[in-house]
Symmetry: C2
């Protein structure tokens, strides 16, 4: 679809210039000097030649049919340039020119207009306010960044144009092969999702790397990224993680979730590898582009120095990988090829005076060993060290397992580093960074192996829930009270204690007997959110008299404290059984939609913040994973002398909550707090629930 | 003291050789070729000239008086070489030769002998099995590593010789100035502590960096490091963090503490900056060597690209530093010097086309701003970027605040990077690494400001505790039972419920009345550790009859379950008041001595592992810090509707526990679990206590 953008045959540069330093000159110069294979058509009404190319006053007069138009004219002339480009058959238009959304409302309006203009013309727009794009495999540098990195398997999408130049400079210094580099600018039309989709189909792209500050259409992005990640890795560095944005939340779930948690949940769902730092972005990408994926987590470490071997082993264990136990026979054979003082335990120490051959033998042994899934090779520069030959020996013994290397040092090891990268072996300045990249590979390999997601649909009474919610919306009751919220829960087959609304003390006494004593009594008022703070909750009422007394006292006291509150009676309900308290919740992220939360109740949520999040809809497997990822999970399994609770039943509730919030986009936040969970075979009980609605929502 | 080692005037090389590649040749060659200022005396009986120097068959025949002797002869001849060196007046001897402790028992024995021999001769020994040492300021390379880094303020101590070569190579590539580099080898005599002490007094050393795999005499090291850190920073990378070593522990505290936790506690106490990775070791050291310490945490960020500015701001917030709010007047003045589109909010965006002057103006403004404590400058290579000039502009505007820089990219920015390092401005490949180094500076500055440690001594009955513990030791009772442990607690003025030992049911009933009903009853047996598991604990006995019944049933049932257990009666005790349960504990680390633990009781310790450790003896401030560093601390402050407990009283108990375990090195582990804490003004109650003794300990 975006082939004409990424790999055009004919490119027009509108606003081409003879003046070096001008953007319109640099783009033409980059295309010409870096050897673009296709045709270049510079457009400028004031000159007829630029860098040896014939220059036309307008596209029309050139008579050419073009694939891509790169526009670098002043902002007021962009619309005309787009019109001419479309007339010349352009299917892709890249607007370098700035002065749009980033400057304010007027610019934003203009930006919308040009995006519409391009789409109406059946084409797609990259930018505006971007650096342009590169395709190394066609030696196409349609940007105003001077450098052309070596060709390779990594394609980069960047929301920061300035960062592109740093990435290019880095790629050249590290001899890191890139395929495409695309500056997405203001994303008026094409955004990260479109480009991930296009790169997914690009045979020259092995790994997709993105620097993002925001994501435009969260749900679509998640879907596209997840599909893409099935075939090739997507590594994202997301900046702006600290500006959590204090949004007013009316639920526990809402107050614990932030934008960064939503991004984390979205990346997890999509199989996106999240790079924690800028350096790790390319550390991961290089490994993924150059090496096969590991089949497991067992790492062999090969080193010519003890200390760095320990460093690597530390990093392996801390990251959750395993130091492999080597096969005795293979290790024995290897030992014969090494000096007596060498160690053929893991880390394999080939000793300070190791030559290339020793390294080769050790790598070969690790490649053979059925107990090894991945290999980390470390070299320190000693008197006898053969950096370049060792690089070659490592490469010659490559096999089905990934090999990641750290040549520690600087000047002396540099030729070895360059040789490694040339040979397609990822190299890192420290063992820790090599291991971190390997861990990312393992994570991705594991995600790739997960079976397709199957979201169960439970039979529920959706109509009934709809009626309750619509009634609340009609009456402007956006904070759904407990009684109504519990009706919704019942409709989704949650186990809610029997409950009734009573308007008078006598009613209450009578209904309490019908429900079955003892009961709990809770004030019903659209004006009261924190019931217990006002004395609006009374538990364990055991006789009709106690119920009657409690009713009158509650009305009396709350009436005094809040004379203006509308008191519509009380909600009476059968006392809940005892059990473990957990909290299930949901908050709707503006980008990624409903996000579920799980945690153990009370202190675990409020003090320890021991909660996990997951995008809805959720599978059974994911629901269980949410439970297991909390630190306090052991308590559910029956630590400290208490029995195991019904864990599957909680996971089942999470899935039904997922279904509910997916069915009703009007629900913006909700808490089931607490859900009371008993031993295996019992159905968890919804002790309290709260729902927040939005009337403005349409999905 | 170690001046003759670090800065000798005359060096003998015993085992000097004419054969390039041989260690004994390389050392002489390094000394000669790299321009050592002093005299070099090569010793070799088979030649009379090496590299133009007169070579003597023996030190004696040279007639020289030497400062340092570097020995590279074969292992069996090392002792003779030492003898000759001592005779020639050597005050420092460096044994390069390997084949000692690292090869087994025999080698270890020999190593002990040569260490003794050197010390008996009034000298000190570096090594054996080491790389040697360098002093750049005297152009002395008394090692077999070929390279000489530029002179500078960082001195390196390394337990790995192989790593030294990587460090040297790195230093040269990064133009990182070193002062001394010392390979400590097997540490037969001189260890990390001695060298830290020597470097503390070395005026050319601004920062001490150490790569350590172990620490020899933990407590002495902590003392020396803490003294040194008052005057100059000590940065340590400790490897071997994952080999936690499953030691059998008889207390909660023991099972939660590991060797790595002990190292962490020791570093914290000493003011040592712990580098989490190999790269961070030099990232931190470079910043500390080159820049003044920040006076606070407020960071100004200056950038020519938005994205990297966000990265830096993220890193600042995540690391606990603060993005400074800029002074309006100064920012206004700066704005006049920048284009209209520039941002003078923090991050200050000088725009993609910024020249050196704009950077200079922004740095000058941040240096002036009273609300800024530190400055991070970021540059990406754009068309107009002046890397080298920008480096100079940054340097010219230096002031009292630290400036850390990241020139992002590779080839194009390299000259700028080199210029920065040349000018003494630390430079990092990513904003995140610059911020991490700044955070280390802030941590160190904060530690340096802490007032001198004052450990309070509480009036206690030490003799009484001693009597109880000696009785246990005499009777071989290394697991001190509850009754005796509580006697020890009482002697240290802990609030222990009144309790008595009863041997019969009638005794028990009578004593219970004396103590005051209700009481708790616990079985007394040297054979039973987990009392409650066996039904050996009965609470809330309210009448003499209940006491009598409980006694008989306990004896009957435990007698049946464990017929061989010696049952010496029961321990009766007044029921504890209700309150928050916390755990105080101690485990004695083989290196660093007693290490205190604090945590909230029950699930917080067992499931959430929410505990903190600190080396004893502890100050009041440190005790409070231990409490505050737990996640569950909020519960002590009175979260979730419960009142605040007496936090100072817990800190006081921690200090008395600290005093107890410092007074009695026989105590190897102990738990006060739970300590029951009530509201402010109440004295916490020791509900249970356990002490483990060792008879072999002598400190």
């Amino acid at each position: 679809m975006l082939e004409k953008l990424l790999s055009p045959d004919t490119i027009a540069v509108i606003g081409a210039s003879r003046t070096p330093g001008k953007v319109g000159h640099e783009i033409v110069a980059n295309l010409v000097n870096q050897g673009f294979e296709g045709s270049i058509i510079p457009i400028n009404p004031t000159t007829d030649e630029i860098l040896g190319l014939k220059c036309y006053p307008s596209l029309k007069e050139s008579g050419a049919t073009i694939d891509l138009s790169v526009i670098a004219v002043a902002q007021p002339r962009v619309a005309d340039a787009i019109r001419d480009s479309l007339a010349a058959g352009a299917q892709a238009i890249c607007v370098i020119t700035a002065g749009f959304k980033e400057t304010g409302r007027e610019g934003a309006e203009l930006e919308k207009q040009i995006a519409q203009q391009v789409r109406d013309g059946g084409a797609r727009l990259l930018g505006p306010n971007c650096l342009g794009l590169l395709n190394t495999h066609r030696r196409m540098n349609a940007s105003f960044a001077k450098e052309m990195p070596p060709p390779g398997g990594i394609s980069v999408i960047s929301q920061s144009g300035a960062l592109c130049t740093a990435i290019l400079d880095l790629a050249i210094a590290r001899n890191m092969g890139l395929s495409k580099l695309i500056s997405i600018g203001n994303k008026a039309d094409l955004d990260e999702r479109d480009l991930v989709e296009a790169l997914a189909d690009d045979p020259q792209t092995r790994v997709i790397v993105a620097y993002l500050e925001s994501i435009e259409s969260g749900k679509d992005f998640v879907r596209t990224a997840a599909e893409t990640a099935r075939t090739k890795p997507v590594v994202v560095f997301k900046s702006g993680t600290s500006s959590a944005g204090a949004k007013a939340a009316s639920s526990h779930t809402g107050s614990l979730a932030g934008a960064d948690i939503a991004y984390g949940a979205a990346f997890k769902r999509s199989g996106i590898l999240r790079a924690p730092t800028f350096e790790s972005l390319f550390d991961y990408a290089t490994a993924l582009a150059m090496q096969p994926l590991p089949r497991g987590k067992r790492v062999a470490i090969i080193t010519n120095a003890g200390g760095p071997g320990i460093m690597a082993a530390d990093a392996v264990e801390h990251s959750g990988l395993a130091v492999a136990a080597l096969d005795q026979t293979i290790a024995g054979e290897l030992a014969k090829m090494l000096p007596a003082a060498a160690s053929v335990h893991n880390p394999i120490d080939v000793l300070g005076d190791a030559d290339a051959q020793r390294y080769g033998a050790a790598v070969a042994a690790a490649q053979q060993d059925p107990g090894v899934d991945a290999i980390v090779v470390i070299l320190t520069p000693q008197a006898m060290t053969q950096c370049v030959d060792t690089a070659r020996a490592i490469s010659e013994n490559r096999g089905s397992k990934p090999v990641l290397v750290s040549f520690m040092g600087g000047k002396v090891v540099l030729p070895g580093r360059e040789e490694l990268l040339e040979l397609g072996i990822p190299e890192y300045p420290s063992p820790e960074r090599a291991v971190a990249a390997l861990k990312a590979m393992c994570d991705y390999a594991e995600w790739k192996e997960t079976p397709p997601r199957m979201v169960a649909r439970f039979p529920v009474n959706r109509r009934r829930a709809e009626r309750v919610l619509h009634r609340c919306l009609r009456t402007g009751q956006l904070q759904v009270g407990e009684a109504a919220a519990k009706d919704v829960m019942r409709a989704y087959n949650f186990n809610v204690p029997a409950g009734r609304i009573a308007a008078t003390a006598d009613d209450a006494a009578e209904l309490a007997v019908k429900i079955g004593l003892p009961v709990a009594m809770k004030i019903l008022s659209p004006d009261i959110v924190h019931k217990s703070d006002l004395g609006g909750v009374k538990l364990n009422l055991a006789t009709p008299d106690e119920v009657r007394d409690a009713f009158d006292l509650m009305m009396l006291r709350i009436g005094k404290k809040m004379p203006d509150a509308r008191l519509s009676g009380v909600y009476l309900e059968k006392m809940c059984p005892r059990g473990r308290e957990v909290i299930l919740g949901m908050t709707r992220d503006p980008q990624f939609g409903p996000m579920l939360m799980f945690g153990l109740g009370g202190i675990f949520v409020e003090i320890m913040k021991d909660v996990t999040f997951h995008l809805a809809p959720i599978t059974a497997q994911e629901a269980l994973e949410m439970l297991r990822s909390t630190k306090s999970y052991a308590l559910l399994e029956g630590a400290r002398g208490r029995g195991r609770v019904d864990i599957d039943a909680i996971a089942n509730c999470l899935q039904r909550l997922s279904q509910l919030v997916t069915d009703f986009p009007q629900i913006t936040e909700m808490d089931i707090n607490p859900l009371i969970v008993g031993e295996v075979g019992t159905d968890p009980v919804v002790a309290d629930a709260r729902i927040t609605l939005s009337d403005a929502r349409s999905e």
